[in-house]
C-alpha cells in the first residue's frame, strides 16, 4: 500500500479488527461452504466427473489446445506490436496526410468491439480458417491500443531527446527509430505487457467462431457423456490454466519494472494518476 489511510491500531482497535476479521472469514467461509454444498448436492465431486484428468489422450489434446491458444497469442502479439509501432509513428508524423488517416484507423479499431470485428472477418471476409480471423482481429484491436501506448511513451519523453538527436544531424526517421522509440518502449514495457495479458485472454474469443483453442476444447470435453458431462470441473481446470498463464506474464512485467527502476539509464516518466490500470479488454 502506497498510502497509509489508517493509524497503527491500538489495543482496542486491534480487538475490533480481530472481530471484523472473524466476521469476514465467517461470511467468506459461508459463501464457500454454500458452493461446496451445491457441488456436493449436484455431484460435482463424483470421481466420474474428474476421471478425464487421468487419460493420456485427453491430456495430449489439452496440450494441443493450449498450443493453439499460444499460437494465436504469439502471432497476435508480434503483429500487434508491429502494427502499433507503425501507427504510433504515423500518428506522430509531421505530415497531416499521414497523421490524420493513422489517427482515424487507430480510433476506429479501438471503438469497434473485438467480437464484432472477429465475426466480421470470419463470416464476412475471410470465411476460411478461423485462426486468421482471430489473429487479424487481435492484431487490429490490440495494435491500436499499443499504438496509443507507444505514442504516449514518445510524447512523454523530454523534448531535449529529439532536439539533441536533430542537433547531431539525424534525420526524422533516425530520431524516431534510434532515439525515441527505444526509450519509449523501455519506459512503457509494463503497460505493453499488460496489454499482452489482455491479448492472451482475448484469444478465448476464438471459441465463438470455433477456433480449436482451449475453451473450444473445454466445451467439447465438458459435453462428453462417458465422463458424465464434467462441465464444472473442466471449466475450473481451464480457468486455472488461463490464470496461471496470465500471472506468469504479469510477473514478468513486475520483474521488468523492478529491474528498470534499478537501471539509471531508463528515464523516469511522469505518470498520470490512475493510468496504470489498463482498460478491461
Amino acid at each position: 500500500m502506497s498510502s497509509v489511510l489508517f493509524d497503527v491500531p491500538g489495543p482496542r482497535a486491534r480487538l475490533r479488527h480481530r472481530l471484523y476479521a472473524l466476521l469476514t472469514i465467517a461470511v467468506v467461509a459461508g459463501a464457500l461452504g454454500f458452493v461446496v454444498y451445491r457441488f456436493t448436492v449436484t455431484g460435482q465431486f463424483e470421481p466420474d466427473k474428474w476421471a478425464w484428468l487421468q487419460y493420456e489422450q485427453i491430456q495430449l489434446s489439452l496440450v494441443e489446445a493450449l498450443l493453439n491458444t499460444l499460437k494465436a497469442f504469439a502471432a497476435g502479439a508480434v503483429l500487434a506490436m508491429v502494427f502499433g509501432a507503425i501507427f504510433a509513428a504515423g500518428q506522430l508524423s509531421d505530415h497531416k496526410i499521414i497523421r490524420v488517416p493513422a489517427l482515424v484507423v487507430v480510433e476506429l479499431f479501438r471503438a469497434v468491439p473485438l467480437v464484432v470485428m472477429i465475426f466480421f472477418f470470419h463470416y464476412g471476409v475471410l470465411k476460411g480458417d478461423p485462426f486468421y480471423s482471430v489473429v487479424l482481429g487481435l492484431t487490429l484491436y490490440n495494435g491500436s491500443v499499443l499504438a496509443e501506448v507507444f505514442r504516449a511513451g514518445v510524447r512523454s519523453l523530454p523534448r531535449g531527446q529529439s532536439e539533441a538527436a536533430q542537433a547531431v544531424g539525424m534525420r526524422k526517421t533516425q530520431v524516431m527509430s534510434y532515439v525515441l522509440l527505444p526509450q519509449a518502449v523501455r519506459a512503457m514495457l509494463p503497460a505493453i505487457i499488460s496489454q499482452l495479458v489482455v491479448l492472451l485472454k482475448d484469444t478465448a474469443l476464438g471459441f465463438l467462431i470455433t477456433y480449436d483453442e482451449l475453451l473450444e476444447y473445454a466445451r467439447e470435453l465438458g459435453g462428453a457423456f462417458q465422463f458424465d458431462r464434467p462441465l464444472v470441473p473442466v471449466t475450473l481446470v481451464i480457468g486455472a490454466m488461463y490464470i496461471a498463464m496470465c500471472l506468469l506474464l504479469t510477473w514478468l512485467a513486475t520483474y521488468l519494472e523492478k529491474r528498470s527502476r534499478r537501471n539509471k539509464k531508463v528515464l523516469k516518466l511522469e505518470k498520470k494518476p490512475a493510468e496504470d490500470v489498463v482498460a478491461a479488454v
Partner: protein
C-alpha cells in the same frame, strides 16, 4: 442502408438489449467495485487479502470463460433454473449480466483503488487528527478527492464494458452482436449487417471517449 431498414425489427431490439445490458451491469459493477476497493484498503488484513484474491483471479480470467461458466456450467449447480426466469433466453440474459458484473467490478475496483492512492497521505492524516473514523474519512475526505483522478479511467472501463457486452452474442443472448447471425438466416449479407453493428458501436463509443478526453484535460488542471 437496405439491410438496416429492411431488418429494423432485428436491429431495434438488438441495440436496445445491448443498451440495457450495459446500463444494468454498469450500475451493479460500480457498486460492487467500490465495495471491493474499500475491502482492498481496509485496515483488516483478512479483508485486504480477500479483495486482492478476487481481483487477481478475475482479472486474469478471460471474460469469454466467465460467460462460458455462467451459460453452461452454472445451471448444472441448480441454484437457479430457467424456470426462475420464465424462459431460457431469460436465463441467458441473467447469465450475461452475472458474467459482466463480476468481471467488470474487478476492474472498477482497481480504478478506484489507484484513485485512492493519488490522494495525498496528509489528507488522511488530517482527517484522523480531526477525529474522523475510517468510514467517515473514506466517505467525506478521500473518496470525493479520488473521484477526480478516477473519472477518466472509469470511463474507459465503462467503454470496455459496453464493447464486452457483445460477447453475449456468442452465448444465446439476443443483442446487437447477434444480429448478423439472424441476418444470415434471412439470406442477407452478414458483412453489411455487421458493418451497421460496428457503426452503432462507433457512434456510442466515440462520444464517450471524447467526453473522457475532455474530462481528463479539465480535471487534471484543477489539482
Amino acid at each position: 442502408m437496405d439491410v438496416l431498414l429492411d431488418n429494423l425489427d432485428l436491429y431495434g431490439p438488438g441495440f436496445l438489449s445491448t443498451i440495457w445490458l450495459f446500463l444494468i451491469s454498469a450500475a451493479a459493477s460500480l457498486v460492487l467495485g467500490v465495495i471491493l476497493a474499500m475491502l482492498r484498503v481496509a485496515p483488516v488484513p483478512v479483508m485486504r487479502a480477500i479483495g486482492a484474491t478476487y481481483v487477481t483471479l478475475v482479472r486474469n480470467t478471460p471474460l469469454t470463460l466467465v460467460f462460458f461458466f455462467f451459460a453452461f456450467a452454472f445451471p448444472l449447480l441448480e441454484i437457479v433454473t430457467s424456470n426462475t426466469f420464465g424462459s431460457a433466453s431469460g436465463y441467458y440474459f441473467f447469465a450475461a449480466l452475472m458474467a459482466l458484473i463480476l468481471y467488470t467490478s474487478a476492474f472498477v475496483c482497481e480504478v478506484v483503488r489507484s484513485g485512492i492512492n493519488t490522494v495525498p497521505v496528509g489528507q488522511a492524516e488530517a482527517s484522523r487528527a480531526l477525529g474522523l473514523t475510517f468510514g467517515q474519512m473514506l466517505a467525506s475526505v478521500v473518496l470525493p478527492q479520488a473521484t477526480r483522478a478516477v473519472v477518466p479511467p472509469m470511463m474507459s472501463t465503462m467503454i470496455a464494458l459496453l464493447k464486452n457486452s457483445t460477447i453475449a452474442a456468442g452465448f444465446s443472448v439476443f443483442q446487437a452482436g447477434s444480429i448478423s447471425l439472424y441476418l444470415s438466416e434471412r439470406g442477407e449479407s452478414q458483412m453489411i449487417g455487421l458493418l451497421w453493428v460496428a457503426l452503432f458501436f462507433i457512434l456510442l463509443v466515440i462520444p464517450m471517449s471524447l467526453l473522457q478526453r475532455s474530462l481528463e484535460k479539465r480535471w487534471s488542471i484543477a489539482r
